[in-house]
């Protein structure tokens, strides 16, 4: 990906993140994700309905990488089934870890394909995805 375009997408998602602000509504799983090695601290809420991720929202303070990754994650995971979300998550984590991954599947998430060059920022790019991890741990959520 062209580095200017990559930066533009990240910056746009950092400065105008999608779905920032929590809601007081039933049916959401709330997950707090923070990093012991840095100061990012995000609260993420996920709603699963009829076998799909229906909504994701977040709030908190975090760096440009974490915040933008949260925003892009939200855009790309809403509407996904258990299997789709699992495949997307695995591919994303493989990319961050410099392992083989499905580039086509990741789409916009490819903006972090060079984060390995800054090893101490890998955790920032992975942080919000812990919420997806946690949701996927309970498959029964998708069977309701």
């Amino acid at each position: 990906m062209d580095s200017n375009l990559r930066r533009e997408i990240i910056l746009d998602n950092y400065q105008h993140p999608l779905h920032k602000g929590l809601v007081e509504e039933e049916g959401y799983q709330k997950i707090r994700t923070n990093n012991s090695s840095c100061i990012d601290d995000l609260m993420i809420m996920v709603k699963v309905e009829e076998g799909k991720i229906k909504d994701i929202r977040f709030d908190g303070e975090a760096c440009a990488i974490s915040t933008s990754a949260t925003s892009i994650m939200i855009r790309n995971f809403i509407g996904k089934t258990y299997e789709e979300a699992k495949a997307l998550l695995e591919s994303y984590e493989a990319m961050i870890d410099e392992k083989p991954y499905d580039k086509e599947l990741l789409g916009e998430l490819n903006v972090y394909d060079e984060i390995y060059k800054q090893p101490n920022r890998k955790k920032c790019a992975l942080l919000p995805f812990r919420a997806i991890h946690q949701i996927l741990e309970d498959k029964s959520l998708f069977n309701k």
């Binding site: 990559r6 930066r7 840095c38 100061i39 760096c63 440009a64 990488i65």
Partner: protein
């Protein structure tokens, strides 16, 4: 000043994180290498030359500390791992046996975790009550606020002399006087003050003072708890074993050595204590008054130059220490720190272990610059040059 004494500055490095730890002059490093290369032995144990030499040097550092903090007697100096252990020793070795349910301990929201969490734990264990002295708009402690928080149940006031995020210097002498008039124990966290200014435990009327070696050019792993002799005599060690007892029997009876040796269970950090002693010599050769005034000059220069940078918010302009907390508008503090790192400038981003200060400041995370004697105006100029260029920050950090 004295930059050439610090081997690390042969690197391209601008180090502004002295509140976290400090660089070591060659003489401190050499003093520890000398122990390991030429006279390694345990302390308090042997009748051979090297052991006796170690004993003299190790015990001699208590005298250096005594002089540094203007204590009455060298036997009031206890070596610990650092400020955190020192404060834990005060809370769990002394206060736990002295305080009762309902007794009040006064702290502030700008204290470091090491002066909050032990008290919070003691609150759970024995039911003491923690109260926070209200801070002014500039996040400072005032005497009227101290007085208005004191009640008949107040038994302890425990404060940093200089705080590590805001860098305000507390009116310790006056608070110490209030404490001694009312029979309140006065505990002082000196982690950010002892390295930077002259401190006198007698002038402050302190009962305990805690500080760390590594924040004052010394090694990691060693710190000091100073306490009034009669209080240390009533303090129970947190650690039991060899070196600290005079006798023990299979019946379970044992006797401890006198203060301060009763706190020296196991082999102490001998090389580190010797290194700390050399660091104290080094600081006193320069003079703490001189260090303080040099840091002031640097800080004023830093503040004046920071104001040239657009979109900089400074949170503690009025405070008297050499700590400056700031943010660039619209940039998360950690991104600023990562950006500065690109130019080999080290600053700290975060809440600086003062996690409840956010309730007071209204901002959770800041960038912190904490200066020390080896920093220069040229380094500040370079910082300002880089910060003025910060509109390109995301070209660097992303």
């Amino acid at each position: 000043m004295n930059r050439e004494d610090f081997p690390i500055f042969k690197q391209d490095l601008i180090y502004f994180d002295n509140g976290a730890t400090t660089m070591k002059p060659q003489c401190v490093i050499d003093s520890m290498t000398d122990y390991y290369s030429n006279y390694t032995a345990n302390a308090h144990r042997g009748d051979y030359d090297n052991s006796m030499k170690v004993d003299v040097l190790y015990e001699g550092v208590r005298g250096k500390v005594r002089k540094l903090i203007d204590a009455k007697d060298a036997s009031e100096v206890v070596f610990t791992k650092g400020t955190t252990e020192s404060l834990n020793l005060v809370v769990f070795g002394f206060m736990k046996n002295e305080l009762k349910e309902g007794d009040e301990v006064l702290l502030t929201k700008s204290e470091h975790a090491s002066n909050l969490l032990p008290w919070m734990e003691l609150e759970k264990e024995i039911g003491i009550v923690i109260k926070y002295i209200p801070l002014t708009e500039d996040n400072e402690v005032t005497i009227p606020n101290v007085l208005s928080t004191i009640t008949d149940r107040t038994k302890v006031i425990s404060l940093a002399q200089v705080t590590n995020v805001i860098g305000d210097v507390r009116p310790m002498k006056e608070i110490g006087e209030i404490c001694s008039q009312r029979g309140i124990y006065f505990v002082v966290d000196g982690a950010q003050s002892v390295p930077h200014r002259k401190v006198s435990v007698q002038e402050m009327n302190a009962d305990f003072l805690a500080f760390s070696g590594h924040k004052m050019l010394g090694p990691t792993g060693v710190g000091v708890l100073w306490g009034k002799k009669e209080l240390l005599e009533r303090t129970k060690p947190l650690c039991y074993g060899g070196g600290m007892n005079t006798s023990f029997e299979s019946t379970g009876d044992f006797e401890l050595k006198e203060v301060p040796t009763k706190f020296d269970a196991g082999t102490p950090a001998i090389a580190e204590v010797i290194g700390l002693g050399r660091a104290i010599d080094y600081l006193e050769e320069i003079g703490l008054d001189k260090i303080e005034s040099y840091e002031q000059e640097l800080k004023n220069y830093l503040l004046a130059r920071l104001k040239e940078v657009p979109k900089i918010q400074i949170y503690n302009e009025k405070t008297a220490s050499s700590i400056v907390a700031f943010n660039i508008e619209g940039v998360f503090s950690q991104d600023t720190a990562v950006y500065l790192n690109h130019y080999h400038i080290c600053v700290r981003a975060g809440n600086h272990c003062a996690k409840i200060l956010k309730e007071q400041l209204g901002v959770k995370n800041t960038c912190r610059i904490s200066l020390y004697l080896y920093n220069t105006k040229e380094e500040i100029d370079e910082l300002i040059r880089v910060l003025k260029d910060a509109e390109h920050i995301f070209d660097i950090v992303l």
